[in-house]
């Protein structure tokens, strides 16, 4: 049991602002081991992002009701106090989002945004040390001239660079879990490849577990060991990536795989 970092049991999420409560996510169960990359795949509206946000503690509590358990590193997060949760956010769990354009504060310098988690969780670190750590972290995500980038604003960087900055900021406290919510969707294909390789390297070198959420089944297959397929708020299928690909048990999974454009001419 001790090798399990994250365990989600019977997670339900529903909106309670409609007259009839609307389930977004129903009865999700999943486990994530230390050092593992787990993929969640689904189309828009499948509830995959909601699940990820619930794990990251980023659902506004008065917008939605949740039930079930999210056990992260032996602590229950769903019922935890906000202050307890905040101690984990940014320190043990890092998050990167789909839109690197809007996920960075447009009026703050890159360095400030990368070191923010450090200031919150490790206030004992001196300013000079912090600077060193930020530069280190920027180097670690393969950004050239980190000293220059430290002083720049988000709008001066390209999309791929911004996503690297986001990763650097999420990784600066060396979290145990990195949640990547469609991290490459907004990027060009060649940049996608670089980001995916970067995530793989970080996983390998720093033993950070990654929860990788995407709509792109072939992308998830290339990075994740295990895959969770979601549809309409439920887990349809779960298993090793290769197995799901070669031997899908569910109709929906088969549909998804078939929808990936093949290198053959379609028959109309």
């Amino acid at each position: 049991m001790s090798d399990i970092l994250l365990e989600v049991k019977n997670l339900n999420i529903e909106f309670h602002d409609h007259d009839a409560p609307e389930h977004i996510v129903r009865n999700i169960n999943m486990t994530l081991k230390y050092g593992e990359i787990l993929g969640i795949v689904g189309e828009s509206g499948s509830g995959k992002s909601m699940t990820a946000m619930a794990i990251a503690g980023l659902l506004r509590r008065h917008d939605v009701t949740t039930s079930g358990e999210i056990i992260f590193d032996k602590k229950e997060l769903l019922s935890a106090k906000r202050s307890e949760l905040r101690k984990i956010q940014g320190n043990d769990i890092g998050v990167i989002f789909q839109e690197p354009m809007t996920s960075l504060n447009p009026t703050k310098r890159i360095g400030w945004q990368v070191e923010e988690s450090l200031k919150i969780h490790k206030p004992e670190i001196s300013k000079a040390e912090r600077y060193e750590l930020v530069i280190e972290s920027l180097k670690n995500v393969e950004l050239d001239n980190p000293e220059l980038i430290y002083k720049k604003y988000p709008h001066e960087l390209s999309g791929g660079m911004r996503q690297r900055v986001m990763i650097a900021a999420a990784m600066i406290c060396a979290p145990k879990l990195l949640i990547a919510d469609e991290p490459t969707t907004a990027l060009d294909v060649t940049i996608q490849l670089q980001i995916v390789k970067l995530l793989q390297r970080l996983n390998r070198e720093q033993k950070t577990s990654i929860l990788f959420i995407s709509h792109d089944l072939s992308l998830v297959k290339s990075i994740c060991g295990r895959i969770l397929v979601m549809h309409d708020g439920e887990v349809v299928e779960e298993g090793a990536a290769d197995e799901i690909f070669n031997n899908p048990r569910q109709e929906y999974t088969r549909e998804l795989i078939n929808a990936i454009p093949k290198l053959e001419k379609p028959k109309p």
């Binding site: 980023l58 956010q89 809007t102």
Partner: protein, 319 residues
């Protein structure tokens, strides 16, 4: 820095344009200085003589350039009506209006920011709703009526000050301040309502953006997210509003002067308009335009400091 110079250049050009247009407008209307100073005993010969004496038959551009140079030197010409230098008439009164506008501005900024933040923070709760309703009503009150109400409530009922009993700052500074605070509040109140509304809306809008989610994901608590992330971005539209507001406040002070019987430039402007005393009107309008445009320049610069995207954005827009 290039941005600053570019802005400075356009500001100067705008100023030149306005001064030119104002001078042109007052030049082409019928009835000039010669007519005005002669009044009823004007004969064609005498008009001609006075015109020559005043240099009115020189080419237009020459007169404009002369006028402009003198204006920059602080010589605004001679009043037709009172035959005294315009600068003497205006310059002693202008500080009163500037003080009023600036005080009102400070009151507005000081009150609206905390109230707007409070309202946004407690969105949907009772106090927030009360603030929204108060805002709506306050925005609908013309500031001179606000002045009348204040006169009635604080002057006539509570007798905190004597309505119409303006005290000059030269005779009694304390009395001056006590008297002036009320007109300033009257000018500020509707603007407070506007900027509270804008700041509240903009805080709420910013709070829904992606970077706020990022900030939460780093373990920030709500107030840190608000003060370190949201506020600066939310202030951007408010700064734009404030820039326009200062100009409104100067004009507002001209109207409010009449309510509180304050001897500022408003009264001179009004009498000059009714006597067609053009050099005075011209000078006051150009001076106000100067203040307005310089304010706009400052706002642009402040905006650029707060929002690093702005110089880049301008380039995109010009494409």
């Amino acid at each position: 820095m290039r941005y600053v110079f570019k802005k400075l250049a356009t500001t100067l050009i705008t100023l030149l344009c306005i001064s030119f247009l104002v001078y042109l407008a007052f030049d082409i209307i019928p009835g000039d200085a010669a007519l005005a100073s002669l009044g009823t005993d004007a004969t064609p010969e005498r008009i001609k003589a006075v015109r020559e004496e005043l240099g009115l038959n020189r080419p237009f551009m020459e007169r404009y350039v002369d006028w402009l140079i003198n204006f920059v030197k602080g010589d605004f010409g001679i009043s037709y009506k009172y035959n005294v230098p315009v600068s003497e008439m205006i310059l002693s009164k202008l500080p009163i209006n500037v003080v009023m506008a600036v005080t009102a501005f400070i009151i507005m900024a000081g009150v609206s920011v905390p109230v707007g933040i409070y309202s946004a923070k407690h969105k949907g709760k009772g106090v927030d709703r009360l603030i929204i309703v108060l805002n709506q009503v306050m925005m609908s009150v013309p500031h001179f009526f606000m002045g009348i109400l204040i006169t009635y409530i604080f002057g006539l009922i509570f007798k905190i000050f004597t309505p119409g009993g303006f005290v000059s700052y030269e005779t009694d500074l304390g009395g001056f301040i006590l008297y002036m605070i009320f007109p300033c509040i009257a000018i500020a109140l509707p603007k407070i309502a506007m900027s509270v509304k804008l700041l509240r809306g903009s805080c709420i809008e910013e709070a829904g953006k992606d970077y706020v989610r990022t900030a939460y994901s780093k373990g920030n608590n709500t107030s840190k997210v608000l003060y370190r992330h949201v506020l600066r971005n939310a202030m951007l539209p408010v700064i734009t509003l404030w820039g326009m507001t200062l100009a409104d406040m100067i004009v507002g002070s001209i109207v409010i002067e009449q309510v509180f019987n304050i001897p500022g430039i408003g009264r001179i402007l009004l009498t000059s308009i009714s006597y067609r005393d053009y050099p005075v009107v011209e000078a006051i309008i150009v001076l106000i335009a100067l203040v307005v445009i310089v304010t706009n320049f400052c706002v642009d610069i402040i905006y650029q400091i707060v929002d690093p995207r702005i110089s880049a954005q301008k380039d995109i827009l010009s494409k």
